[in-house]
């Protein structure tokens, strides 16, 4: 068997068909190039972020330590103190980027994201309830016993399932999903406000930091479960790519092309909810990543829908960079969630102004 590489005879430019025996795939160069470049940027930004701190370490030393060639104190600082935080940030960005791309393709609407659909606010309800109520009532004690991350995970999953069940009407319509999501978001934010007004000042302050999304004091305890979850969810999401490229048409066209619509829709929504829940339970609701990153990615790669892999990697770069800037460049260490919006929004605006593409998918 020989692999053949060929340029399609009449057709799509910028792509090459690769065939090996009866297997075949159509490669789009920009869909390969953008993730590759992003990956390089990600490694560099992560290395810089790990190197910066009270005890600065040069990038080559960081990289050497990460591949297992480090020495005593550097090993400890890099692997135990700094790497977990950066890796949690990286994985959270990856998960949010992929989840955003899934939601936006599914809903055929660039406004669809875990934030606007109420899933992150659901996580906040869980986390804030755990933080605020743990001292008082028996319900609170149970919630507190779970720990904040687990409470957030439950909050996100419950909201996700509610979203899906309420939006379901012989299939899920994108607009209906967004409307139900906005309703859930309102209920969730009202609940959070109510919990905060009834909270002790100290609890409220802790809850407030959590709501903004923070990578402070993250250890391998958060990084490892998140990595395991993503090792399952991200490949599944990438496997859904073929269905997504048909799902982005109207329902009738998608069914006409032989897609099992209800099954595909269920799979995509549940995957996106699970990815969001995993990310949010590890670092809080870092907003704006899932909303802005897929739109940035689709403008870089071209094509008709946000690319999953590129969205994930750009999300990772955005969160790690935002964390780096908050830790080093700003006088006070702000929660990372504030800066993702500050970096992400102008970049999207710049792309919108520059491109002739409208804001829809």
């Amino acid at each position: 068997m020989t692999a053949t590489l060929e340029r399609p005879v009449s057709g799509p430019r910028g792509r090459t068909a690769i065939r090996l025996g009866s297997a075949s795939v159509l490669l789009r160069w920009r869909h390969l190039l953008v993730p590759l470049v992003t990956l390089v940027v990600l490694v560099l930004v992560s290395a810089v972020s790990i190197g910066r701190g009270d005890f600065p370490i040069a990038i080559p030393d960081v990289l050497r330590t990460l591949v297992g060639l480090g020495e005593g104190p550097q090993n400890f600082i890099v692997l135990q103190l700094r790497a977990p935080r950066v890796i949690v940030g990286l994985l959270v960005g990856l998960a949010l980027g992929v989840a955003g791309a899934l939601f936006q393709t599914f809903a055929r609407n660039p406004l669809a994201s875990p934030d606007t659909l109420g899933i992150t606010i659901g996580a906040s309800v869980g986390a804030v309830a755990a933080l605020v109520l743990s001292g008082g009532s028996s319900v609170g004690a149970v919630l507190g016993g779970f720990g904040v991350p687990l409470a957030a995970l439950c909050g996100a999953l419950v909201t996700g399932v509610l979203l899906f069940v309420l939006a379901w009407r012989a299939g899920v319509d994108g607009y209906r999903l967004v409307l139900v999501g906005i309703a859930l978001w309102s209920v969730g934010s009202a609940l959070v406000d109510w919990l905060l007004t009834n909270a002790q000042v100290y609890d409220a302050a802790a809850a407030y930091v959590w709501i903004t999304g923070s990578l402070n004091a993250r250890t391998w305890d958060q990084a490892v479960p998140l990595a395991i979850a993503l090792a399952v969810l991200v490949p599944l999401a990438l496997a859904a790519g073929r269905a997504l490229s048909v799902l982005q048409f109207g329902d009738d066209t998608a069914r006409g092309l032989g897609l099992r619509l209800a099954g595909a829709q269920t799979a995509v929504v549940l995957l996106a909810v699970a990815l969001t829940a995993a990310a949010v339970s590890a670092a809080g609701p870092i907003t704006f990543v899932a909303l802005v990153v897929p739109q940035v990615a689709v403008r870089l790669t071209g094509g008709s829908r946000p690319p999953l892999l590129a969205s994930g990697l750009i999300g990772a770069v955005l969160v790690v960079s935002a964390d780096l800037v908050t830790r080093t460049a700003l006088p006070e260490a702000l929660p990372v969630g504030i800066l993702t919006a500050v970096i992400g929004a102008p970049y999207l605006l710049w792309l919108l102004v520059r491109g002739r593409r409208r804001s829809t998918l």
Binding site: R242, T253, G256, G303
Partner: protein
């Protein structure tokens, strides 16, 4: 010229008599929630036929087409594709035999014509076979055949209405199905582009041997391009037969509440409706 004939429209369709039945509706009852749109309807599409479904707005013709294309599940009766219940056939298998073009389909922004047409190959692809040599040949040929090769790299949303419809038909062609259902493919097009689209569909039927069913509003165009007309009113099949058998002054009065004269189309010889006034 039989176009002014007053012979009654027949329920048993002489045009449909020869040839194998490919797609059939048997006692089909169609409803949206509680509202019944089509009651107990029977229809057979034979191999290689070209059928136009006509009727006034809201008569259930698009609903019927959706049911034939398994987009709507009948609440009674069944649709058979090659003798097999379509509801129990895997949708991917159906998609290799039956193609459909919904009314005003939506293309995602930024999708190029080449990508759209390539999507037609979806039912033939799998995880391992994502872009076979077959896919490539068929898509290239579909683009050529519909005269879209020159526009292949243009985004679909930047095309004119007529070009866009050609692109969608090109995709249906790339899907490579024997049967093709089209729901008002000429909506929003000016007359020249309506002719253009119907010529293309006619060529699909004549040159590529496709079995075609199309919902059309324009009776004169339906009579000119289709071999067989099916007229519906209030969810019931009222008449079926050759255009000359179906398009009678009585039927127009009955189905469309329209007083009209039927004259022979000076170009094609098919019946042509000249409206006089609306009845009632």
């Amino acid at each position: 010229m039989t176009s002014t004939s007053t012979e009654p429209a027949v329920r048993h369709d002489p045009v449909a008599a020869p040839g194998r039945v490919r797609l059939a509706a048997e006692h089909v009852r169609l409803a949206y929630d509680e509202r019944v749109v089509v009651h107990d309807l029977d229809l057979e599409l034979t191999d290689g036929s070209f059928t136009a479904i006509v009727g006034p707005n809201g008569c259930g013709k698009s609903t019927l087409l959706r049911a034939l294309g398994r987009l709507l599940r009948p609440s009674g009766g069944q649709v058979l594709l090659d003798g097999r219940a379509i509801a129990r056939t895997p949708t991917r298998e159906v998609a290799r035999v039956l193609g459909l073009l919904p009314q005003s389909p939506i293309a995602p922004e930024g999708l190029t014509v080449a990508d759209l047409v390539a999507r037609g190959r979806h039912p033939h692809q799998s995880w391992l076979r994502q872009w076979s040599r077959d896919d490539e040949t068929v898509v290239a040929e579909a683009l050529e055949w519909t005269d879209m090769a020159g526009l292949a790299e243009r985004p679909v949303d930047e095309l004119s209405g007529g070009q866009r419809q050609r692109a969608w038909i090109s995709m249906a062609l790339a899907q490579g199905t024997d049967l093709l259902l089209l729901d008002e493919p000429t909506t929003y097009l000016d007359l020249a582009h309506q002719i253009d689209v119907l010529e293309l569909v006619g060529r699909l039927h004549a040159e590529r041997g496709r079995t075609v069913a199309v919902v059309l509003h324009d009776l004169n165009l339906a009579a000119r391009y289709a071999q067989r007309l099916v007229a519906m009113k209030d969810g019931v099949l009222v008449a079926s037969g050759t255009p000359a058998q179906v398009l009678t002054e009585e039927l127009l009065a009955d189905v469309f509440d329209l007083e009209a004269r039927i004259v022979p189309d000076p170009v094609a010889g098919t019946p042509m409706v000249v409206p006089v006034r609306r009845l009632r």
